[in-house]
Amino acid sequence: MKRLIKRYSFFLYALLAAVAITALNREIGFKTFALAGASFKQMLAVLPPIMLLLGLMDVWIPREKMIKYMGDNSGLIGIFLAILIGSIAAGPMYAAFPFTAVLLRKGVKFSNIITFMGAWCVTKIPTVMFELAALGYRFTFVRLLINIPGIIIMGLMVQWLLKEEQLREIYSSAEGME
């Protein structure tokens, strides 16, 4: 119980703060709770199945295969796959984080992981649909045209900026994480 409280202390403080704000300003407080509730609902709509699929992927896809197709020598195929997996994803950015842990454990090249995270943010198909509807095809098309090379370059740059031992540390800490 004590461990649980400690683990969720950030949440409990945030909840207390929201309650305090509601006492001070009803309107802002209620709106905060309504918005938090909406976020929670949105999370429930996508996160549980995504995490379960992640578990399946972890169990069924062998490391050797992942290294071959997305590892250090995977070249263009690795980049293509990183963008593809990111694009068919659903869910907000934070849902991508547990994926990175599995990709790290499976020996995927770091630049491909960053590109995957980028794709998750900008080329995700459900999101692009929303964007088309809200902002029009011209805006969406131009943005994709700039963003696709952008996420590839960002992946390569982040990897390039990190030292060999820093990369090793990231990979080994992912080993200990479920």
């Binding site: 969720y8 950030f10 949440f11 403080y13 945030a14 909840l15 929201a18 802002i28 709106k31 905060t32 709770f33 309504a34 918005l35 938090a36 909406a38 976020s39 949105q42 999370m43 709509a45 996508v46 996160l47 549980p48 199945p49 995504i50 379960l52 699929l53 992640l54 578990g55 399946l56 972890d58 169990v59 069924w60 950015m93 934070y94 849902a95 984080f97 990175t100 842990a101 790290l104 960053i114 900008v122 459900p126 929303f130 964007e131 509807a133 809200a134 902002l135 805006f139 131009v142 943005r143 700039i146 963003n147 952008g150 960002m154 740059m157 982040v158 900026l161 990190l162 820093q166 479920e178």
Partner: protein
Amino acid sequence: MTTYLLYGGTLFLFAISYIKDKEKTKIALKKGWKSFENVMPQFLGIIFIIGLMLAVLKPEVISSLIGGNSGFLGVAASAVVGSITMMPTFVAFPVADMLLKNGAGYPQIAALVSTLTMVGVVTFTMETKYIGKRAALYRNLLAFLYAFIVAFIIGKAMGVGA
């Protein structure tokens, strides 16, 4: 729609997995639950912070900051707002559209959308747990800077005939 597809697809794959290998499926279930539970402590706190932010930051406030004539400063302001706020995409795009109709400029909106989706200050600590402080910092920083390039090019592209 996406939700039904996701839940249905997951159920289907788990059924296949279960037929093929009971043990592996149990491990997958456990691993899935663990990664879900791992996200929760931070997630539950973050949604209140985001809720509060959105409750305080009204669209009119944002709109006045990033009007069509606000230029580079407006783009910078949008990028900062986009970085610290986090919105579900189904909220972000309609909001962007509303801001445009209220007089915000295209480059500013491009910077806002770019950073809203790619840069996460509130989720930063969560991100460092997975890819480390340094990599998370570089990724967010590069995405932040890249938003300016996107803003510039979108501004050029939408300026013609838009």
